[in-house]
């Protein structure tokens, strides 16, 4: 049991590409760290920009790039784990150039290497995972006992809910495995400023057998912070938006409500969206 009183939590944020997973992850990590947690954030996307705001705009070398350049036998833990804002440890899995190779396999290889280094430690590990669950490699954070708590990041837009619903299917499938510890921990609404958006996402969460853990409104301060190469937590700690991220962090720490999701059929999903138009 760590000093701050919580068991190590391994959480993963999944959601549609461009929905704001990396922004949410980085601000969540920053808020958790300021609340006393030892945090490791792992970007699981070949774009390698998950941890950039925690590293003040710097792209850290990715695990896959380092393995390709030096070979895994030459690498040490400190080559792949970089310390960012408030001591948060940052890792980027990286991957191939778009259109070649297999990025999913790159995620698997990264996890194997981090295991070998004993780098998967701390109070909270935040896995920030590429868009949709496109193949088994990108489901890796949910498998093999890595992330046990999955948060869906979605807006009220239908395609975003559709992606979240698809991820529910993956969680449900993986939950059925005997050794699986992966569960749905909740839904985070990263809002697009649609009418009744919070209600819609909350209802979606309820229907897939989960809850809305935090509503994060759209706020220009997020873009401003990013242009200053910082998280909102660091750039504008007194802003209402920073308060939302801190509330999210608090909710994540105390959240023990883990469920096996009940994904919706597409017709039911579309009907739900219509109800809130």
């Amino acid at each position: 049991m760590p000093a701050n009183g919580i068991m190590m939590k391994q959480i993963a944020l999944y959601g549609k590409g461009g929905i704001g997973k990396s922004t949410t992850s980085a601000n969540l990590s920053a808020a958790l760290s300021l609340q006393g947690c030892d945090v490791l954030q792992i970007g699981c996307d070949p774009k390698r920009d998950s941890t950039r705001m925690l590293m003040h705009g710097n792209f850290i070398p990715t695990v896959m790039d380092l393995v390709r350049e030096r070979g895994d036998a030459q690498l040490k833990k400190e080559d792949v784990v970089h310390t960012g804002f408030h001591g948060i440890r940052c890792v980027e899995a990286g991957g191939p150039e778009p259109g070649v190779g297999c990025a999913g396999r790159g995620i698997i290889a990264t996890f194997q290497l981090l295991e070998k280094f004993g780098a998967l430690s701390g109070d909270v590990i935040v896995y920030d995972v590429l868009g949709d669950v496109v193949c088994g490699g990108f489901a890796m954070p949910m498998r093999e006992g890595y992330a046990q708590e999955i948060y869906l990041v979605t807006s009220g837009e239908l395609m975003s809910l559709y992606a979240a619903n698809n991820i529910c299917k993956a969680i449900k499938r993986l939950s059925s495995r005997v050794k699986s510890t992966c569960r749905l921990a909740g839904v985070i609404c990263n809002a697009k400023d649609m009418p009744r958006e919070e209600e819609l996402v909350a209802e979606f969460a309820r229907r897939v057998n989960s809850t809305l853990v935090q509503y994060i409104p759209r706020d220009r301060i997020v873009q401003l912070a990013e242009l200053n190469k910082q998280t909102v937590i660091e750039f504008a700690p007194d802003s209402p938006q920073a308060g939302k991220y801190r509330a999210l962090a608090a909710a994540v720490v105390k959240n023990n409500s883990l469920t096996i999701p009940a994904p919706l059929e597409i017709d039911a999903l579309e009907s739900l969206a219509l109800e809130f138009m």
Binding site: M64, P96, E97, G99, V100, G101, C102, R105
Partner: protein, 351 residues
């Protein structure tokens, strides 16, 4: 996306495209086959081809190179590894390099055709394979023959009316050489000789003469797409299959003679005499009861076997002596002779 059209028990009828293609490309002398994939694919296929060759009393000098893909090549793409393997192949001073891909290569989408299409100084020929994604063993055989034919000069050559090509021998089948000799013997009865074995232990220079023949003899009807390609390329008509069984051999002589513009009657007469003599030699088995442990591999085999049973007055029943079913239809009169020898041994042993 390929679905699985195969029966549940596909261990004999399915197989791997890569292995099928390798059974062809490794039979081209002066060539090297590059397997783009993990080393295990090359190892497994080398072992299979080598062991099968030994079973046919043929010590195969297999020239295989693997691109040796590992985790990094899977993650970042394996085109550089393929390039390195091709360079290594070219250093062997071979006339042609065949490049065959594996399941994982097609899964991650390496552009094998683009790598092969570079200026390597020697022909580097992509053979579409892709392991389980590419089809079956037989697809691999057809794809390899098609790819090799594609490298041959396309002009229609002057034909020699007395020479024929053999197309698509099953290089891994039991009795591949015996079957070839039997076809050669039957063709000789018509005054025809064999030009190119496409492909069985064949050199690149020999392949260049592929278009000079007046007729192509296909191993079986699965080779029809290759026969059609060669017709389009060289205007060479084809006979759809090696002769199967006794009457099948006589039919073969007739059709081949007619197509080659040769009167087949004398050859057919000689062959009938040979077949009568053959059956006389086995007349002691008349009235014997047989049973088969397997069903016939296909309809031509069924017909050929039924004919022999009828002409020798054999019986088939569950109390009969267990005799072996040939693994593939008996080719020609001599194929029937070998089959009958095996049956008679089984009858004599009272199995």
């Amino acid at each position: 996306m390929p679905s699985n059209p195969l029966p549940l028990n596909s261990c004999r009828s399915g197989g791997c495209t890569l292995t099928g293609a390798l059974s062809v490309t490794t039979s081209v002398r002066d060539s090297v086959s590059v397997i783009h994939g993990p080393a295990g694919c090359a190892h497994h296929n080398f072992s299979l081809l080598h062991a099968t060759g030994l079973d046919n009393d043929h010590v195969a000098a297999l020239n295989l190179i693997s691109s040796g893909m590992q985790d990094m090549e899977v993650i970042f793409g394996g085109e550089d590894a393929l390039g390195a393997a091709i360079r290594s192949a070219i250093r062997q001073d071979v006339s042609v390099v065949y490049v065959l891909s594996t399941c994982i290569v097609e899964t991650i989408g390496d552009d094998v055709a683009a790598v092969c299409g570079r200026d390597w100084g020697v022909p580097v020929v992509r053979v579409p394979t892709a392991g389980f994604l590419g089809g079956s063993f037989q697809t691999g055989v057809s794809n390899a023959l098609t790819a090799i034919a594609g490298t041959m000069p396309g002009r229609v050559l002057p034909k020699d009316p007395h020479i024929v090509n053999i197309i698509g021998e099953k290089n891994l089948e039991y009795e591949v050489e015996e079957n070839y000799r039997e076809v050669a013997r039957l063709l000789a009865l018509l005054g025809l000789t064999i030009n190119v074995r496409f492909v069985h232990c064949t050199g690149i220079n020999e392949l260049a003469g592929l278009g000079e023949a007046s007729l192509n003899i296909l191993r079986d009807d699965e080779m029809q797409p290759v026969g059609d390609l060669l017709y389009r390329k060289y205007r060479i008509p084809s006979i759809p299959s090696f002769p199967v069984g006794l009457s099948g051999s006589l039919d073969f002589l007739k059709v081949t003679g007619d197509l080659a513009g040769i009167d087949p009657a004398p050859a057919i007469s000689d062959e009938k005499d040979r077949q009568d003599s053959l059956l006389d030699g086995f007349s002691g088995t008349a009235g014997s009861m047989l049973r088969f442990s397997l069903t016939a591999p296909d309809l031509p085999a069924n017909r050929a076997i039924s004919e022999v049973i009828a002409r020798l007055d054999l019986k088939v029943g569950k109390d009969g002596a267990r005799v072996p079913m040939p693994p593939s239809p008996p080719v020609g009169t001599e194929g029937v002779r070998r089959m009958l020898h095996r049956w008679r041994r089984a009858l004599n042993a009272g199995m």
